[in-house]
């Protein structure tokens, strides 16, 4: 009886042993690379989802295709070219830089330059166009006395209030 008890106690760890979960992907590093690429590809049948997050069957098939091509040793660019030659630029969420996408990629920067330029030009022009308001001697004295009345000892620059 005593030995049976000891045996049972020794076997306890076997029963309570919990395994360390294994990754779903056969090769987690490759999988991460695949998902990284798939995030920049578009699911063709979905209403605007990436290939990485879509649950549709075609998306699963395409992910499988990307995975297998990576296993065969193709580079990211080669896989992209493969998909683009079959599905067109539509499948890329990162639009390629082509003649037709110049406005897309450089537009914002061009607008920024134009906006900044216009702003500087306008600011310079207005400086010369607006006359400085001149206080008459009487008004200046009134202003001075008002300011003295309300002045508090402080080291704040007066012009900084919001």
């Amino acid at each position: 009886m005593k030995y049976l008890l000891i045996l049972l106690v020794c076997l306890l760890p076997v029963f309570s042993h919990a395994g360390e979960a294994t990754d779903m992907a056969a090769d987690p590093v490759l999988e991460k690379r695949m998902i990284g690429l798939a995030e920049n590809l578009r699911c063709l049948v979905c209403q605007n989802e990436s290939l990485a997050s879509s649950h549709s069957e075609l998306a699963e098939d395409l992910r499988r295709e990307v995975r297998e091509q990576m296993q065969k040793g193709l580079s990211d660019q080669e896989i992209i070219d493969y998909l683009v030659s079959r599905y067109g630029d539509f499948v890329l969420y990162d639009p390629p830089l082509k003649k037709s996408t110049l406005i897309l990629w450089f537009g914002p920067f061009a607008l920024l330059l134009a906006g900044a330029g216009m702003l500087v030009y306008q600011l310079r022009k207005r400086k010369s166009r607006i006359p400085e308001a001149e206080l008459s001697a009487e008004d200046a004295q009134r202003a001075a006395s008002l300011l003295d009345e309300t002045a508090e000892p402080s080291n704040q620059p007066k012009d900084n209030r919001a």
Partner: protein
């Protein structure tokens, strides 16, 4: 019967807003007091009838009236009551009714809180808002009637999309629409000013609180939408640059530029035509968003069912409203005048350069969102523009924006000198730089992007602290000085701090998030982010209108239990649609996020489980909340409070000598 009452109420509301959109404006143009006097009664009337219509549709949903087509399409008798109410705006027609209802509420608000404004201004503002309401009501009555009958009635409804059966649907659309519609007030003020031919600092002071309130709602609405997507969609993403998301972000960006531009106009009477243009642009983008979501020109997970006929109507409405406004702008803006003088280097110009940046950012989002449409229309084939583009373009724009966010509040009005400013901020900048370089090392990974994000965020924090120190320093009573600063000053600092928090959240979650996608047998554990997750199997539970496979996951750290999480895989009874409900442990330092994948076949209860560690992700939405709070503080500022004596005096004054003296009167009062 009730649906017919609702339908009739819409027709009555239409007639009222047709009157509201015409009589007061004609009255203002001809200085006809009788016509202008109809303004408020018409405003109250249209609110009553819009409310009746909205109430009727809500009633139809609550009592499960499946003889109404819209109710049958979007509801079900098994649907919990709270979602039956939210389902009112779950589809195209109902969401339009929400738009109309909220617009009628804003019209009412403007009618009530405008006693201190001159009559012609009120008449014009409410008139313009009335015209907008005309468009929406006509659109509903002609193409998208939520009260259309389904005869014979359906035995039961098609159920609300399970993704929408969530508190998010209760809050997000109404809040977002409050923002969209709220910008119509700023728009109306701008048009009224152009019509009246007078635009000055006083106009900006009237306009500003309304714009800020709309902006606050918009901020909250977008933030909640993002948070909802995060916990609902199951893969931890929170912004996808989807066309509909962009459609809300663009008006927000322009709205932000607008409130800053109004600040310059209010303070210095400067750059008025730019402010007016921004006000027109903000609302135009709201309207354009409506078009994009409902017309079918862009593909989006959010879009309502497309119908080209509806698209034509909205587009025509858009062209009329925006086209006429911009023509009016082109005609009247040259006469507006330049206002106060300031230097090339001044707080005004910093604010204005920030506006240029915000506008360019909005324009970039616009270009990216519509480029596929442009290309297709020109026969250049199909193109997709997604997150890689937007991130590549938007993030670089943020850097100078944030730099100026720190400098702006510190710079002097009218003129500052570079050496003086640099001298004040150099330690603030240095400390931010130091933190940015060292903090990632403590978190375990250093990349340039993380350091940049932290630099931007801590630069804002440092400049806020610097500003506070400069204002509150000195001898004597600190509390008195604290109370002496205006609420709008604190509002600004809070809002900017909100941006800092937001940037920290985005930077840290993108930099340090981890994910494990594992097969878990009962009893298996997985390590992630210093935590241990143990899978305790799945049991079947039943919800109000679904059955769920509910997983139990125990989380511990260093052997000590932290929490229990219950991710679910639901199947909704009516639609049969499956849905993953992630389980999230929310914390200040980050989220633990677990979602169930698929059960592993032939495995005795093993499941594919996804575990995410998302450090500091909630700072993203906390930051947005702080931004909104900043806006609330700003509106609570003393100078926007309408004192009864001021109102009476102003009305007296304007009868005698026009509103030129209004400023003087208010000045003496406060």
């Amino acid at each position: 019967m009730i649906p017919e009452i609702g339908h009739f109420a819409l027709i009555v509301a239409l007639f009222l807003v047709i009157c509201l959109g015409t009589l007061p404006i004609i009255g203002a143009a001809r200085n006809n007091a009788v016509l202008m006097g109809t303004t408020r009664s018409l405003a109250y009337g249209q609110f009553v009838f819009s409310t009746i219509a909205f109430a009727c549709l809500t009633y139809a949903f609550i009592v499960n009236d499946f003889s109404v087509l819209y109710v049958a399409q979007h509801s079900n008798s098994q649907l919990p009551v709270v979602y039956r109410v939210a389902a009112v705006w779950g589809g195209h027609e109902g969401s339009l009714l929400l738009w109309v209802f909220l617009l009628s509420a804003w019209i009412l608000a403007v009618a009530v809180y405008s006693r201190h404004l001159p009559e012609e201004m009120v008449a014009r503002v409410l008139g313009v808002m009335g015209l907008i309401a005309v468009g929406f009501l006509l659109f509903m009555l002609l193409t998208s009637d939520p009260f259309e009958r389904l005869l014979p009635a359906a035995a039961d409804g098609r159920d609300l999309n399970p993704l929408l059966q969530d508190p998010g649907l209760v809050i997000h659309p109404p809040m977002l629409y409050m923002g969209y519609v709220g910008f119509s007030v700023a728009f109306a003020f701008a048009i009224a000013a152009l019509l009246g031919g007078r635009l000055d600092a006083t106009w900006a002071r009237w306009s500003r609180p309304w714009t800020t309130v709309a902006w606050v709602f918009m901020t909250g609405g977008i933030a909640i939408g993002s948070w909802w997507a995060y916990y609902e969609l199951g893969w931890g993403g929170w912004w996808f640059w989807d066309p509909v998301e962009n459609a809300s972000f663009m008006p927000w960006l322009i709205g932000t530029a607008l409130i800053h531009s109004l600040a310059v106009t209010e303070k210095r009477g400067a750059f008025k035509s730019w402010t007016v243009l921004l006000a027109i642009a903000a609302f135009s983008l709201s309207l354009m968003g409506t078009f994009l979501v409902r017309s079918g020109v862009l593909t989006s997970v959010h879009s309502f069912a497309a119908d080209p006929k509806r698209g034509i109507f909205i587009l025509s409405f858009l062209v009329i409203v925006i086209g006429v406004s911009l023509l009016l702008f082109a005609w009247r803006a040259p006469k507006i005048g330049l206002g106060g003088k300031f230097d090339l280097l001044s707080r005004e110009s910093l604010l204005l350069s920030n506006n240029v940046l915000l506008s360019v950012a909005a324009a970039s989002v616009f270009i990216g969102t519509l480029y596929p449409l442009f290309m297709d229309a020109l026969g250049q084939g199909k193109l997709s523009v997604g997150p890689p583009y937007f991130e590549a373009v938007f993030v670089p724009l943020m850097v100078p924006m944030v730099l100026m966010m720190g400098l702006g509040p510190l710079a002097r009005w009218k003129k500052f000198t570079v050496p003086e400013l640099v001298k004040r901020v150099r330690w603030a900048f240095a400390s931010a730089l130091l933190i940015a370089l060292l903090l990632p090392l403590t978190m375990g990974k250093w990349t340039a992007m993380i350091a940049l994000g932290l630099l931007l965020a801590f630069w804002i924090v440092a400049s806020v602290l610097l500003s506070l120190r400069e204002r509150l320093a000195g001898h004597g009573n600190l509390m008195q000085r604290v109370r002496g600063q205006s609420l709008s000053y604190y509002g600004m600092q809070f809002a900017h701090l909100g941006v800092a928090l937001f940037i920290i959240g985005v930077t840290l979650v993108n930099g340090y998030e981890t994910e494990r996608d594992v097969r878990m047998d009962v009893g298996d554990t997985v390590q992630a982010g210093g935590y241990e997750f143990r899978f305790n199997g799945v049991t079947e539970t039943q919800g109000a209108n679904y059955i769920a496979a509910q997983g139990r996951v125990s989380v511990s750290k260093n052997g000590k239990p932290v929490t229990e999480l219950f991710p679910e895989k639901r199947q909704y009874n009516v639609s049969g649609m499956p849905m993953t409900e992630a389980a999230i442990d929310t914390g200040w330092l980050g989220d633990l996020y677990v979602s169930l994948g698929e059960p592993i076949p032939n495995s005795n209860g093993a499941w594919a489980v996804r575990v995410y560690i998302k450090p500091f992700v909630d700072w993203i939405w906390a930051g947005c909340l702080l931004m909104a709070l900043g806006g609330v503080l700003a509106i609570s500022d003393r100078r926007y409070r309408i004192h009864r004596e001021t109102k009476a005096r102003n009305r007296g004054m304007e009868n005698k000598s026009g509103t030129g003296n209004l400023l003087a009167a208010e000045g003496k009062q406060s």
